[in-house]
Symmetry: C2
Subunit: 144 residues, 2 copies
DNA sequence: ATGACTGCAAACTCTTTGCACAACA
DNA sequence: TGTTGTGCAAAGAGTTTGCAGTCAT
């Protein structure tokens, strides 16, 4: 997807909700989509700072929260309890390496239907499933 | 399991590692096992304070970290990013209600072998699987 | 007796809030 | 022009660290 397509996508979603299109929102959105990666708020700030001097951390948080409502990012809790923002909205699991802190995406082709079903059996209506695998990535397991 | 059995279990584990048996450790252990429940550090503190006046939060954290190493509790990250400590070490999923914050245990009888297998395919060696379901509990879904 | 453990206080990280100025529509 | 959004500063929650005194062994 080109940058202008990304911008248009975001602008549409914002207009739908009567919200404004600002350079901060466009740049943060681009930064998130540039690499499909798990970023902390601080990393997002660093990545957009060159193109937007003076941007502040509270704005990054506010924007990421907005994007979450728009369904553009998913928020997840990383190793140290810090928040991570993931532009991959499609369901997938995360493998966290205890040693190096790496986060690896793991696909589960079947989807989470079975998990939703099991939750429904105990009266719980799940709208989101988060699967985290703790352990050692290939590199760290090799070092041991 | 009786209280003295619990105490003996803990004392054994501590002696094995050359660590000391203190009233703080015994009481915190009892509090965790009394109800198989998910407790914050603060809740643990409140629960043991009557029997152990002057006990401090740092001690609770240190003790819970020790227990995690001993395999007596599992640590998980709750809704607000706060840590929760769970004396149920056996694998099970957690359903978190966004509205009331309730945490409900959900059993997945099949186990996580399939998840470990899938991770292994991408070179990741998982030692622990954490499955969290976000949504609404029965009570909150009814209110809506 | 000796070394580990506890309690106190303070620091630290990450996130959120309040308010005045700026800027999108 | 009227809100909405931003930036700054400060507060807030939760967790961790340093150190001196205490206690289990």
């Amino acid at each position: 997807m080109t940058v202008s397509q990304l911008d248009a996508l975001l602008a549409d979603k914002l207009h739908e909700r009567g919200q404004r299109v600002t350079p901060q929102r466009l740049l943060i959105h681009r930064a998130l989509c540039a690499r499909e990666q798990h970023l902390t708020a601080e990393q997002v700030l660093k990545q957009v700072s060159p193109g937007l001097p003076g941007i502040s951390l509270p704005t990054v948080y506010a924007t990421l929260e907005l994007f979450e409502e728009l369904g553009l990012v998913r928020r997840l809790v990383g190793g140290g309890g810090a928040l991570l923002f993931d532009s991959r909205v499609a369901p997938h699991a995360h493998a966290l390496c205890r040693q190096c802190g790496a986060i690896i995406d793991v696909e589960f082709p079947g989807g989470w239907a079975w998990a939703h079903g099991r939750a429904a059996q105990v009266g719980f209506s799940a709208d989101h499933v988060e699967l985290v695998l703790w352990g050692s990535c290939a590199a760290c397991a090799g070092d041991s």
